[in-house]
Symmetry: D2
Subunit: 290 residues, 4 copies
Amino acid sequence: MANSKYEYVKLFEQPDQLLPNTWAVVRIDGRGFTKFANKYNFEKPNDKRALDLMNAAARQVLVELPDITIAYGVSDEYSFVLHKTCTLFERRASKLVSTIVSTFTAYYIFLWSTYFPETPLTAPLPSFDGRAVCYPSLQNLRDYMSWRQVDCHINNLYNTTFWALIQLGGMSSTEAGEKLNGTFSKDKNELLYSQFNINYNNEPEIYKKGSVVFRDYELVEPGTHNTASEGESIAELAAQPQSKTQVDNDRKRRTKARVVIEHLDIIRDDFWDRRPWLLSNKPGKIPKEP
Amino acid sequence: MANSKYEYVKLFEQPDQLLPNTWAVVRIDGRGFTKFANKYNFEKPNDKRALDLMNAAARQVLVELPDITIAYGVSDEYSFVLHKTCTLFERRASKLVSTIVSTFTAYYIFLWSTYFPETPLTAPLPSFDGRAVCYPSLQNLRDYMSWRQVDCHINNLYNTTFWALIQLGGMSSTEAGEKLNGTFSKDKNELLYSQFNINYNNEPEIYKKGSVVFRDYELVEPGTHNTASEGESIAELAAQPQSKTQVDNDRKRRTKARVVIEHLDIIRDDFWDRRPWLLSNKPGKIPKEP
Amino acid sequence: MANSKYEYVKLFEQPDQLLPNTWAVVRIDGRGFTKFANKYNFEKPNDKRALDLMNAAARQVLVELPDITIAYGVSDEYSFVLHKTCTLFERRASKLVSTIVSTFTAYYIFLWSTYFPETPLTAPLPSFDGRAVCYPSLQNLRDYMSWRQVDCHINNLYNTTFWALIQLGGMSSTEAGEKLNGTFSKDKNELLYSQFNINYNNEPEIYKKGSVVFRDYELVEPGTHNTASEGESIAELAAQPQSKTQVDNDRKRRTKARVVIEHLDIIRDDFWDRRPWLLSNKPGKIPKEP
Amino acid sequence: MANSKYEYVKLFEQPDQLLPNTWAVVRIDGRGFTKFANKYNFEKPNDKRALDLMNAAARQVLVELPDITIAYGVSDEYSFVLHKTCTLFERRASKLVSTIVSTFTAYYIFLWSTYFPETPLTAPLPSFDGRAVCYPSLQNLRDYMSWRQVDCHINNLYNTTFWALIQLGGMSSTEAGEKLNGTFSKDKNELLYSQFNINYNNEPEIYKKGSVVFRDYELVEPGTHNTASEGESIAELAAQPQSKTQVDNDRKRRTKARVVIEHLDIIRDDFWDRRPWLLSNKPGKIPKEP
């Protein structure tokens, strides 16, 4: 049937493909989460339930979108990494961002009652925004990940000290802010220890390191793989596309792999050395059941 | 504190502002909804509960984002319209799309149990993708809206006939498809009437017209306003920005206005003539309580 | 024949189409023209030969690219306007910008000796950069053109007074700059008249108004055409593309039309009222030879 | 002074920066050069004067824009490479493309009479279009360069045989085309040799290899430098920007270096191994005068 009179409006759709052969990171952020955290009385400086909920939602995003190789979360933000050879949705930015944001949001709402069984959600509901950024080299990607984890550390040390001053030291938030103004890490560590007998190093890893979510395979010995290798090359794939069997086989192993949530140092090489599948995009060996 | 070693990665963020003075439409679509509809046994050809849920979620998007002037939904898709003078999120495409998709998804999951009280959601959860498209002129925007409503009509007439052949006529889906192959609207109307005594015109408006969601003010007499007017001009706004009082006043009236869900013809001028606030972006008069 | 091993690099080419149904302006600017003007001893405040050369080059751009409807030039810049329905080079920004810049440059170099017969060009040669900007509405386009012409007026009044102070008043450039600091148009007009007996209104139009280049047809009576009309609509063209005869006919009339260089007020409606072909994109009537 | 009423139109300018840390190639192509070549009776299959003119123009582009590290030309096209750390014009695509196209065109017109002293140019003049493409990895860039040189070889072998069939074999162009249809490189080589006693290997390098233009420094021994190194890293530069002295020093050496035109194999590693400055973006050692 002739729908043609109006169909010309499709002309206005413009392409938005991400540059091929670049690492794409979709980062999502909670919208107005300071207010949201107050509404539901999130604990300060960290609310374990809220972080566990973020992690559970992120985990489900990886389960539903096997093209995502790794994700890193801290506070109300999460970064999802797509391998440089990824061609999901023809690399269309809007489609990638909206799908990840929507899937994450769906699980955040759905799983809320699991983590906050006694505080039902009411409107306005929590929501997230997101964007995609391309990183041309592996170093750029690793530096992005390191940036987020350093940020996690800086913010958590600050918040831990700030809330100790208030909750244990009886300061107002203004007083605590002024107290910390201009201090260095060392100063905050000392303040925590001398004044509140808190050894920051003993704080839970989830607060200090944030959370890493990825498909888990058998670890390899560092040094046995080339860390700098970014794995599959777009040139090789173009010259010799993977066979259907290979693709199917990879998919099966990815589906079989467990998606884990860890709180590890992702700045140092060791994390990447032992998990070559993260950068190579080739599934590893499924670990034997313990 | 020195986070600077990694912070250079911010250089890779690229701007994605939508062209000013264009109507922006964010359209979202259900991902894999054919499979999803089967999983939850959606009624064919239309599931009233599923449409009501879509509409309720869209309504909440307008409540939370007053910058959206009107939305149109059909099946598992929804189009949200931002006025050409809208500057929400500095018109950043990713931010607009992701926020709308996330808010919609949040309410879709949250309200599911209201509309499907006896079928709890299970993973994989429903999700949506989205994209933003700019329409430079009012005609282009109106044509976009007409395109979607014509599409609604075409698909609904087809589906109504197709499922009548199956549910009432005992055909297989292959047989029904073949029967309808090459038929025109007139043929389907006749077939429905002669074979199943269904007068398509008497089908519910929500199926035939889709759903329009907007802030409701007092209707005006057609002809008393300039329909072609697109209201506020970006040139005038630049020359003389609205006063804070004016902005606050507008916001209050928008917040007071009821967001309604209707099933009206949005192709003809009449709909727009009587609701000049949709195109002018100036809130109308709050209707008196009945 | 196997070129395929390397051909994958074509994947990196990304589309850059300008949004349809918007007026596109390609503005080019002389690179380092202050230095260039000094090298060739351009007269101050305006060098008639240099402006004539700019205009002659712009004229040839319109001759070679009939899709350009009008151009406006001042100093070392030129703006070329493409009608909102223009589909030249599928509206690819790079192709449009580079073609216009290259054609302009070619004629600038080629015609140099006509306008500067006694000063041969030597390396480094003059060159131009350019960019394309989309204006969604006719008002936006008209305002862009007005912006450039107001700029021409402001700069020319300033420069005329500045150089009078130096050339006739014996001031240094620093003294002249200080003298003019904080003055209004009225002050400069008075200074020119009282001190140097120069009536700014009597300055040549080419300096005061800049230059407009367009295809010339018979003027129409203002009021007999709809000024606000932007002519051909993208919706109509989509619904009913022009016949080949019509397209050929239009092309012939465009080719026949003389491309003229004028120095007129393009801010007021009158200019556009009398030349409806500029906005309608329909060639006018070829004027009879005098 | 108040130009503000119209100045809002600047809002429509949209950014177009190329992704940082990617190799950018600006490729320009002659517009309508088949027709142009006929107009000026270019010799077939190659016109040495025309190629020399292209090369001379490209050389001047490198002289005027020291940010360009290497260029490769064949037929009526030229590719200019900007190092991945290049920040010229803040990497704005339009500015980079238009400047390169304009500078090239200026010299092409200016130098025409040197290479075609007996055939003066007449309107319509030759012109070029261009576009920028980003290549994320060194391999992608090298593959792009290889692609162009393989294309040069394929086209030149075809054209050499095609024109031999016509000029020496007395065939029509249709006959020659049919004769070559479906042939492989080997077939064309044999045909040239057996029928016309032409050993393709002895054809001039400029035709077989195209032309490479770059700043020349002392060659280094292959194996003493890391070929895979892409030199300066954007991360290092961000962490520790070059000192002004270093920048000035580099600039001086670049200005001192001779820009040469060669016809070498750029597919094999050897070319790049011996000229590490091309990929490192660090000027080499100025060769001693012979």
